[in-house]
Assembly symmetry: C2
Homo-oligomer: 256 residues x 2
């Protein structure tokens, strides 16, 4: 194990001044420019945390509800849960299955395997009436593209985490989660490792990418236009990584 | 809403050099001394994040398994799940109910209402063979005591978050959660607030205390002796607060 001799110090910067993102925009360039404007610049080893919303916008994953024709099933479910049938149609298209529909909530497993409300389809922080964003088709690939472009333009090797805020079972309130990862292992596995007292840790694997996502939310907020944060000073395990590693296989999930 | 004009910048410091904590130790003093040694000192508005393990040690919430007499029920459950019956006895004593027992896992609702594995009873990072720690009896009260003592000794008003790492439904890996809070509102409620585009947010309440806990874990780690982190620069809502606010009432929980 790494013996730590330094002061352990982490810095998280929220990047302001990123303009309204449009389909086809190069997020890497916008992020590099914003980091330069703030005087922090992107550096080797930084973790760049990007909110799903701007990734979806850049990738054109935005839908006007008046273009959506709800199915009979969507109409029924919408009526049962008191939701807009066109929104429910999109939720169903983005879902592998419905985990729970009750009390006005539709919790689904998305096509990627994430369990969240409304398949991640969301109206907030998008310009225009009745426009919603869908999650990126492949958020790992989205993260990889941003990472590769940053390396290409700026010559630095960063990790990228794409995030969205989800609710949780058992607890009140939403928290930011990693839905796409590139350049870092999302889990640190401590199983078999000795703790500070020589005890062999048995069941500890830390979802560090989720913790990075949660940490970044603290500077991003929900109503300020800060869709990107830079985490500096984190010691993480480099590697391609994938947020799919954070999805518990259904056979080993006690709660699905 | 607060309009943000500053660079949004958060710093997280892991406090090293906190000695082995014994029953009756004054954690506030140990934290103040460690922060001073690191040259950061505690400041007004800091959030001091303290791992459950040292709180439990200071409060004497540590049990030698050879002092525990398992009940018949504990013996049966231990056999079914392949666990030490004395450990299972403690898990049951700390539980309000068993949420799920399967595949070698015992997920309970603790006396506080937290849903986690083994009622939070844990063997890691404690000196001695077959010694386990229990969660603090009242982690909010633990946080409040540390906060009050820091104000008393150092004259600064900090928030305190007591944390433990729990597993999650649906996702792989553990994450640090807030189990005790003092001096901050653990939730930021955005319902009814306008987003950056004038859309009224409907279902967004952010569990900021959980995000703080997760962020702090990034510098605390599982095998290094860093039981305390200081989060500096966070804009949070002051108030007494309680981690119980983060526990979803069973009637509004779709997954219990």
């Amino acid at each position: 194990m790494i013996v730590n001799l330094m002061v352990v110090e982490l810095h998280i910067y929220g990047l302001e001044g990123i303009p309204e993102v449009k389909p086809g925009d190069d997020l890497a360039t916008l992020i590099i420019e914003a980091a330069d404007r703030e005087g922090i610049g992107l550096m080797d080893g930084d973790v760049v945390v990007v909110s799903q919303k701007v990734v979806s916008k850049a990738e054109g994953r935005v839908v006007r509800l008046d273009t959506v024709q709800p199915s009979r099933f969507a109409l029924n479910l919408a009526e049962a849960e008191g939701k807009d049938p066109r929104l429910v149609e999109l939720i169903l298209r983005e879902a592998k299955r419905i985990v729970k529909a009750r009390d006005g909530h539709i919790i689904t497993e998305t096509l990627h395997g994430f369990v969240c409300a409304n398949s991640g389809v969301d109206r907030s922080n998008i310009p225009g009436e009745d426009v919603v964003s869908l999650l990126p088709v492949d958020p790992d690939e989205s993260a990889r593209r941003i990472r590769d472009r940053i390396r290409e333009i700026k010559g630095v090797d960063v990790a990228v985490v794409v995030t969205d805020t989800f609710g949780r079972a058992w607890r009140v309130g939403q928290v930011n989660f990693a839905i796409g990862v590139s350049g870092m292992k999302p889990l640190i596995d401590y199983r078999g490792v000795l703790d500070a007292y020589g005890y062999v840790l048995k069941a500890t694997s830390i979802a560090v990418a989720d913790e990075v996502a949660a940490a970044a939310e603290l500077v991003m907020g929900k109503v300020s236009r800060i869709p990107v944060a830079v985490v500096r000073g984190l010691r993480f395990i480099r590697g391609e990584g994938s947020a799919r590693e954070l999805v518990r296989p259904i056979k080993r999930d006690l709660f699905r």
